[in-house]
């Protein structure tokens, strides 16, 4: 497949190993169509962050390595790039846990996102104003030290900072982490707005399945480093297994995806025997 397929990002059977021994991703295949929001769902340790880091090439700094499969972004394979080259190509990752520069002011944090672009002072101010248009809350707090802002504000700073790099594609790692539902909604609204108005494609990793699917076009569910299920966001929201396992709408106790699949295959094989 090439970029003519309309996908900005394509992962094919990606395998990732940490420290040469720990297998973190077995087999992840996913596509992000241009201009769409795709959700990557799964519990703790499922491999969501690893998947995002393998795309942004941030893996190397954690001694991880893509050992199999292929990743292509905008029609070109990703293998030898480093994170700052990826940013220049228009791919920016918002890391898990926000990771603001605590000792810098809110505005300095956001401006630092434009580091990779050669902008004049005036251009930077213009861009800033545009960004503040989406993040009105941050404009009020522009002079505060980022370390003293609230969790929601810090998440906004992280996204605003990434937007200053003028990305074609954003990788968001758990933007809802530790935030009140109201703030989560606010942040997802901004992400949607950025997607629609700026045309940024988004791949977001989330544990908050409900909110994530409601705000995306397509979803993938991964477990233990493997894609278990994929589909349009609507179909996933209505899928019985997803409802039971990830949305907490269930008659029985908690199970994981693998168990459900096992049970299903058991039922099938029983039927065959009968």
């Amino acid at each position: 497949m090439s970029s003519t397929s309309g996908n900005i990002l394509e992962l094919k059977n990606v395998k990732v190993v940490y420290d040469n021994v720990i297998l973190a991703l077995h087999d992840v295949t996913l596509n992000v169509p241009k201009g769409k929001i795709v959700a990557l769902l799964g519990g703790n340790g499922a491999g969501k962050s690893t998947t995002l880091k393998s795309i942004s090439t941030m893996l190397a700094s954690e001694r991880g390595k893509v050992t199999g499969g292929s990743i292509s972004y905008d029609g070109n394979p990703i293998d030898k790039q480093n994170p700052s080259q990826m940013v220049n190509l228009g791919m920016v990752q918002v890391l898990e846990g926000r990771r603001c520069f605590g000792h810098l002011t809110v505005e300095e944090n956001i401006i630092s996102g434009a580091y990779s672009r050669k902008l004049s002072r005036g251009d930077i101010n213009q861009e800033l104003e545009k960004i503040y248009g989406y993040f009105i809350r941050l404009k009020e707090r522009r002079k505060s030290q980022a370390g003293f802002t609230s969790g929601g504000e810090q998440q906004m700073i992280a996204v605003a900072r990434a937007m200053m790099a003028k990305p074609k594609m954003l990788l968001l790692d758990e933007p809802s982490m530790g935030l009140a539902p109201q703030l989560v909604a606010e942040i997802f609204n901004i992400v949607k707005e950025l997607n629609q108005k700026e045309g940024v494609s988004v791949l977001l990793a989330e544990q908050n399945t409900n909110v994530a699917l409601k705000n995306s076009d397509h979803g993938y569910i991964i477990e233990t480093g493997k894609v278990m299920l994929e589909g349009s966001a609507k179909s996933l929201l209505n899928d019985d297994k997803v409802k039971e396992l990830y949305l907490g709408i269930s008659k029985e106790g908690r199970k994981n995806f693998r168990d459900v699949l096992k049970e299903e295959s058991k039922k099938k094989s029983k039927k065959k025997v009968n």
Binding site: S56, V87, Q93, G102, Y115, Q145
Partner: protein
């Protein structure tokens, strides 16, 4: 009584002026510590290397003062470049201990290189400034302040201001502060770590050169400069490893305290206690205030 007070002020002022040099060298350490979270043990060797090259250019090649200075600055930038390329980049993502050991090794390499290139004898460095009291101050304020101390103080102060402005108002400075706060996040938004590393190592190199020139002018350009520069260690313990204001104030404090102790308590120990008194002070800080006076405030939301 008045005489005694004047003498005390003299000792303190002399110590503070000498302390600005410690501040400057400590600043070199802080820069590198902030950018790469490692204590750069080769800083002392850098001081020796830089000033020996400077003197070498002047004395062996008859290069004029200003040109020799810029040649030495250029050389320190090249040293920074090589350090980034040959030492730091291959060791990227290794533990901090590994980096620490690498800087110790780098120190030996620089010491060896300097001596291989310029020889081992002590060289005289004449900056045209005398180590004598400035007559005007001596006449009017009755204080005997050495001209070279005052010059060193002014130069160091100027450089500290310059560096602070650089970090506050330039793009590179913003990048450096970002890397110092969270290197991972900085690289995720496309701040190239290697540029920042090059910046801090070059800045540390220039700082080393200036400090070496001031010290060398007084005591001769010699191997002992390596140990003198390591006096930045107690400065950093007192000031806090990651704080620029801490390095400045720590340096002044060490300068003043060591002179006062030397003059008033030194005789009881047979003199020359300024060599180790700062370390004793540092031990007290380690025991009772390990983060130093200005150690990075850890911002924690409640």
């Amino acid at each position: 009584m008045v005489d005694q007070l004047l003498f005390f002020i003299e000792v303190v002022v002399g110590g503070l002026l000498a302390g600005t040099m410690y501040s400057l060298v400590a600043l070199g350490f802080v820069l590198i510590f902030k950018a790469s979270a490692t204590f750069n043990f080769s800083q002392g060797a850098m001081v020796f290397f830089a000033v020996l090259a400077f003197v070498g250019f002047m004395q062996d090649f008859n290069v004029p003062f200003v040109l020799a200075f810029f040649l030495a600055v250029g050389l320190m930038v090249i040293v920074g470049l090589c350090t980034e390329r040959l030492v730091l980049r291959p060791l990227m993502n290794q533990s901090e201990d590994t980096l620490l050991m690498a800087t110790i090794g780098l120190g030996y390499v620089l010491e060896g290189l300097a001596q291989a290139m310029w020889g081992v004898e002590v060289r005289r460095l004449d900056l045209g400034i005398k180590d004598f009291p400035i007559p005007w101050i001596a006449d009017n304020l009755k204080l005997f302040i050495s001209a070279i101390d005052l010059t060193a103080g002014i130069v160091a102060f100027g450089m500290i201001i310059g560096l602070s402005l650089l970090f506050k108002y330039t793009k590179m400075g913003l990048g450096l502060r970002a890397v110092a706060d969270d290197a991972g996040a900085a690289s995720s938004i496309g701040i190239p770590l290697k540029h920042i590393m090059l910046l801090v190592w070059s800045a540390a190199g220039v700082v080393a050169l200036v400090a070496g020139m001031m010290w060398g002018a007084r005591a001769g350009v010699q191997f002992a400069l390596v140990d003198l520069a390591l006096k930045a260690l107690p400065v950093l313990i007192i000031g806090g490893f990651s704080s620029i204001p801490g390095a400045i104030i720590g340096g002044l404090l060490i300068g003043a305290v060591e002179k006062v102790l030397e003059v008033y308590i030194g005789p009881f120990f047979g003199g020359a206690i300024e060599g180790w008194a700062p370390y004793v002070l540092a031990i007290f800080f380690l025991l009772y205030r390990p983060e130093g006076l200005f150690g990075e405030k850890i911002i924690r939301r409640v």
